[in-house]
Amino acid sequence: MPERIDYDAKIPNNVNLADDRRLQRALEGWQPKFMNWWGEMGPTLQTHGVYLRTAVSVGREGWAHFDHVNVPDYRWGIFLAERDPDRRIAFGEHKGESVWQQVPGEYRADLQRLIVIQGDTEPASVEQQRLLGLTAPSLYDLRNLFQVNVEEGRHLWAMVYLLHAYFGREGRDEAEGLLLRNSGSPDAPRILGAFNEETADWLAFFMFTYFTDRDGKYQLGTLKESSFDPLSRTCEFMLKEEAHHMFVGTTGVDRVVQRSADLIREHDTLDIASHGGIPLDIIQRYLNFHYTVSLDLFGSETSTNAANYYTAGLKGRWQETRRKDDHKLTEDSRDLDRPNGDGTWTSDELQAILLLNLDLRGEYTADCQTGVNRWNKILADADLDFRFKLPHPGFNREVGINSGHHITPDGNIVDEATWEASRHRWLPTTEDLTFVRSLMHPVYERGKIASWVAPPRQGINGKPFDYEYVHLT
């Protein structure tokens, strides 16, 4: 397996595509369909080159290359992490056996389903972020948007490669289906709910890249454990790129909070809306919304499918190999908090293997908390008393045991009327959304930035903030 990427090929790759004419033809057949999709559903803003990171290698040292690229000419390619010839299955009933280089017939349908669902989320965020280029707060942010978008596109390629290479004609049909569904489409929506929500403004984009892409990180982390080695290696490399998306989210929210804190101090009032900043309670409401919608992506707390995937070795736990247990989980149990109709909570002891989604969600929540701590540190440093908080996992849920209950951000179970009466305090209101949107004016001058967000501490790849990250004319 060449570590270096074959950039002379029509489709850059490190999977020896040139040696597999059938697969090459199939992917070259899909390529124009992808380009059509990108043309229709990709970023709306026309540019003349964006300072993008392109993967040129998969090794530890220097896998990325930075340069201005005309976005439609970006070389979307197929890159898998290097193969470990000694890799063994780490969990489930096949634990200890060699990993699979081919799809076992028995698990074909399940693996295909997992890959299709993962694949379906990748183009969805591109679609959701389609219009954001028109209102970017700076060239730096605009560049990051494009970076996220092209890499989501590449992640789509990664999943499509697996479908084409390992799942025959059906895989090719599914690969095409990924381009036929569209985020928020009334006709053929994306499979998962959160990917049909609108990302209408840049605060939403930062929240999305912080919370929703972080779900992606955890899902990829579980697929990286897969016994199906090509999937594992694909996800391992995707995780490298995904880290940047979360960086965009983390620092994006940082900068919004920083700017708001600065304005609060400057004007000595929390009501900074009239000064062009985003009030902290609106940020909290955005956080509440994006966090809870992302929790839904983990699926139901108890899941037979997740258990089956685990036993079969298709999808592991986060950092499976670092866990200190038998990696089969047939004997373990853990507790699940369940809301009751009378307003109380019950704790049920259930088989651990049925609670894998909850396990992953727990890892995710802990990770999300680090961001909240970061943002609170900014407030503390500014001598402000306000603190952000992750809402209770039962709050505002559409999926799992909490759906159908009305749970406050503090975890109290209330009746529907009470909940609805406070909704405006907890979730973004129409007024909030309109207000945030009213701030979204594009700032395309070098070194300038919109009123509602602070500039980044550092530029990209050692470049200064006022570098011309995007050529617009």
Binding site: E93, A109, D110, Q112, R113, D173, G177, L180, R181, P186, D187, A188, P189, I191, T304, A306, A307, N308, Y310, T311, A312, L329, T330, Q351, I353, L354
Partner: protein, 551 residues
Amino acid sequence: MTTTTTVTFERHPDTYRHWKLDVDGEVAWLEMDVDEQGGLVPGYELKLNSYDLGVDIEFYDATQRLRFEHPGVKAVIVTSAKDKVFCAGANIRMLASSAHEWKVNFCKFTNETRNGIEDATEFSGQRYLAAVNGSCAGGGYEIALACEKILLVDDNSSTVALPEVPLLGVLPGTGGLTRVVDKRRVRRDLADVFATRSDGVKGKTAVDWRLVDELVPRVGFRESVLARARELAAESERLPGDQGVWLTPLNPEVTDDGIKYRFVDITFDRPASLATITVRGPEGEPGDLHAEGADGWLLRLTRELDDAILRLRANETELGTWVLRTEGDPAGVLAHEQQVLGAKDWLSNEILHYYKRTLKRLDVTSRTLIALIEPGSCFAGVLLELALAADRQYILDGPPIDDEDSEERASITLSEANFGPFPMGNGLTRLQSRFYGDDDHLAWLVRERDHALTPAETVELGLVTDAPDDLDWEDEIRIALEGRASLSPDALTGMEANHRFVGPETIETKIFGRLTAWQNWIFTRPNASGPEGALRRYGTGQKAIFDRKRV
């Protein structure tokens, strides 16, 4: 789970927990909206519109009410009120935790409900359309298969699937396999691929393979479905009728010793494993069928008999022999029968088909059926079908046992009712099944219609098994019943089902005689029901362990 739940079968749309019935002119919407917490027995949640017996009892109730209470309805849309899911099929945790007889009884009842839907389409001009608005698996697809047309939402992700074989190690037992090849004429190789794929088939492929009839865009789905339903309604040959007949509650008197309805009486003899079902003839001259409505003799009797069969099947599994008796005036029976057979309106049509379906229920009931024909009984025409459905018929050749001076003698009377209107599942009348291939004998029987046949004549005509006289009667019957009760119930079930259904196969006989028989076998095999079997392991996250020997 050894359940002590007593199952009742009467429901009403006002109190449905799992369905919404909405009649809008010629079209009715029947929307499945299963209450997760509304299982008939504790111990499972009905997620994703999955169903148990309780859900299906409501479904059956709705189909019955549509036929009787809504004569104006010509098309019925079956769809789901839930987002993204049509129906996930029979609830697996319910199946896995149920006793064998509960599983089988559930399968039988659900099959009868599906057959009833096809019967409504064929004979009542009430045409069913499945509007599959989300994922549709197993028994969910089998509901769709029972409908005349299947529309699938074209959202690029919804599928139809029969995942029982790959996921559960059992068969799609509610007619799934049979309807796919026999009714929808899906090619057998494609059917094989389809039924071994746990993820099912979507979109254009589903249409190409004939698994569904048409794709309908997600936007405007309900409008498109309604338009299709209106087209079906326009083609319907439903007999005109604007005033429905309300199916009022039966209010049976239920005790430990039996069940009493107005025209049906059941007494239990538990030590002897016996239920005696006595059906009473009409009380007077036939009145106006429409004015009498649910109180008319034949309709009321049919509803009671239907309810009684279902209750006995579900709640009295150890009463292995049913003795069928009648009481009343044969002339009265024939007069009422003639009134219904003679009228060609929607209500008489419904009553006849309902009686037909109830007799079919009897035919597929896994209980020994013994008809006792005594003085004072009224086995004439429609009621004679009960005796002909039985495995054996005994007629008393002499005076009543408790009144030896009486002139009264037992008789039976053949009528038009015995020669066509009430075919069995194999498409033959009970007489044609009894004298299979013997057309001369059947022609002879036609000539013996419309007069009372003496015990001697019934023997000569081959219409009874034996005709003991009053000296032997009690002993003969006792010995016959006791002998029966001593035999293996499983062997009896197999034997009776074999004898009852002679001749040609139909979709119905294949479903009951083949598919469900296989299913019963599979249900008891370790590969499905053993502690490591697929049905038991489902939902535990652990994989089934199969005994790889093929039998």
